[in-house]
């Protein structure tokens, strides 16, 4: 049986400053140059990263109490509604919530970005008033420093692969995959490919609940499987799912994050979203992890789908790999040559992978063994519209 390493052994090397850490792109070259055995012997950690639109993001904030206190029941931050159906001065500001006054030009993601910039945010809150919380209104300004807690808690980030979007209709459409010209005028894709975290650990052997990660420029954690986690998507021989598959719920201290790696986005005729930077270290425990982390864009296939119908299950038009997508054009099965463009930033993903590598090399970041594995069997159910509630005996 070939060599097996564990988290403790790798962490000891990190603490001594002796760990060999490579980015996922460097790992592919290392394995090509020196072979799998040498890679297992020498490489301790491979860093992966992504920087893309992740709508399912937001932050929990605690404002502290006024005197007399208020049990906030309707809260606006710079005119953006924050969910306050929790305790008195706690809210959740969701990234995609749009401003009541500026619409899709400003939303929850912009509030989070402005907090990170240190800007003052206009807080308005109302309440019915109670004996213990008599105040009925608050109108004030807060900054990130004023808040007791501010932590990002994103229910679905870091999609394992995604789709390639095209438009077969004759008219331009505006989607969360950007504007798509009619008649297959362009194709957009959104994954860091060979650098993407869950494409380097396709069966979640080392990435799981409790894993310490790079989140928005700070150290954060994987809190749970992400919503719509769908590990049973079709996979090719190397384990790569050919469409949106596994997802992660992540958590981290907003106060330590940076606008370099957390950016608000306004997508035309769609709405507000947030670009989130995530980096995940993968320990090279065995030969299997060497093979997974050596994956290259040409080995990662993704499904091309037609977004023109506005339906749940978009029609499938074929498959391409990321090497083809990265070249700037693909050829569809019908012979059409289509220009391609990414929506996630490879430039930023590489910076994140490098930064995480630096943290680990300097002993500032230790690997955390997952306390629980992510599901490899969970399915993804649709919402069916029923005329009346089913009754169960």
């Amino acid at each position: 049986m070939s060599r097996q390493k564990d988290f403790e052994e790798i962490n000891r090397k990190i603490e001594k400053g002796e760990a060999l850490v490579l980015t996922a792109e460097e790992m592919s070259d290392f394995v090509d140059d020196y072979g799998e055995d040498k890679a297992l012997e020498e490489v301790d950690v491979v860093t992966t990263a992504t920087f893309g639109a992740m709508c399912s993001s937001g932050a929990f904030l605690n404002f502290g109490h006024t005197d007399p206190p208020i049990r906030m029941s309707r809260v606006y931050l710079n005119d953006v509604l924050a969910y306050s159906g929790i305790a008195a001065v706690d809210v959740y500001i969701g990234a995609t919530e749009e401003s009541e006054s500026k619409g899709s030009q400003y939303g929850g993601a912009h509030v989070i970005e402005d907090l990170l910039k240190g800007e003052a945010i206009h807080l308005r809150a109302t309440s019915k008033g109670t004996d213990c919380y008599p105040r009925k209104e608050v109108d004030t300004y807060i900054t990130l420093d004023d808040l007791n807690q501010a932590y990002l808690f994103n229910p679905r980030n870091c999609y394992q692969n995604y789709w390639v979007a095209v438009n077969s209709s004759s008219k331009i459409i505006y989607t969360y995959m950007g504007p798509l010209y009619g008649n297959f005028g362009n194709a957009s894709y959104s994954s860091a490919g060979q650098l993407s975290p869950l494409l380097n650990d396709p069966y979640y052997k080392t990435i799981g609940i409790g894993s310490r990660i790079f989140l928005g420029g700070a150290q954060g954690y994987i809190a749970w499987e992400g919503t719509q986690h769908n590990p049973v998507r079709d996979r090719i021989e190397n384990g790569i799912p050919v469409g949106g598959s596994g997802t992660l719920a992540v958590i981290g201290d907003l106060k330590e994050m940076s606008t370099e790696y957390l950016r608000a986005a306004s997508i035309t005729n769609y709405g507000v979203s947030m670009y989130v930077g995530i980096g995940i270290p993968i320990p090279i425990l065995n030969k299997e992890m060497v093979r997974y982390t050596a994956v290259r864009d040409k080995d990662i296939y993704v499904t091309i789908v037609d977004y023109s119908g506005g339906v749940r299950d978009n029609p499938v038009l074929g498959r391409v790999n990321y090497q083809e997508l990265r070249s700037g054009k693909i050829v569809l099965d019908n012979g059409l040559e289509v220009p391609t463009a990414p929506l996630s930033s490879l430039n930023k993903a590489r910076k994140i992978a490098e930064e995480l590598k630096g943290w680990i090399k300097r002993g500032e970041f230790l690997l955390e063994k997952p306390v629980q594995k992510l599901s490899t069997t969970r399915g993804f159910k649709p919402l069916n519209i029923k005329k009346e509630a089913d009754t169960y005996v």
Partner: protein, 139 residues
């Protein structure tokens, strides 16, 4: 030679005069039409470069257009790019038909070749970070 890039906005009732012919024939202006969308009974838009040996010719030509009821907006030569705002995603490059916007396939930063820009504005629509803007009247 002096030149100016302008966008002409026609209202439905001002489209029937041969104004381009007049600009060439009577004002000695070289016209290079970059984009045009003029339909009967609709507001029309025309982007063009005006070139002449004297700036005065161009100014007089514009004066003539205004008298004829055509709105004239001065345009920047190309889309304006704010690199500081840019995250280098590349979303704009898929929409750019002129070839002005491309990704550098080594460092994956955005390359802007201003001279190729046709001011169609699709990149402005594609950019989620306001990194690309079209300047009208210098704004």
């Amino acid at each position: 030679m002096y030149s100016k890039r302008v966008q002409l906005v026609y209202h439905p009732n001002t489209v029937d005069k041969p104004i381009i012919y007049d600009l060439i024939k009577h004002f000695d202006i070289i016209i290079n039409i970059i984009q045009a969308k003029i339909l009967p009974d609709e507001e029309g838009k025309l982007v063009m470069d005006m070139e002449a040996v004297e700036m005065e010719y161009i100014e007089k030509g514009i004066e003539y257009l205004l008298v004829e009821g055509v709105e004239v907006q001065t345009l920047e030569e190309s889309v304006a790019y704010n690199q500081e705002n840019c995250i280098f995603c590349g979303a704009c490059t898929g929409l750019c038909k002129s070839g002005a916007l491309k990704m550098d396939r080594n460092n994956w930063e955005l390359i802007v070749e201003h001279e190729k820009c046709l001011l169609c504005g699709m990149c402005v629509t594609a950019c989620a970070f306001n990194s690309l803007t079209l300047g009208v009247n210098g704004n």
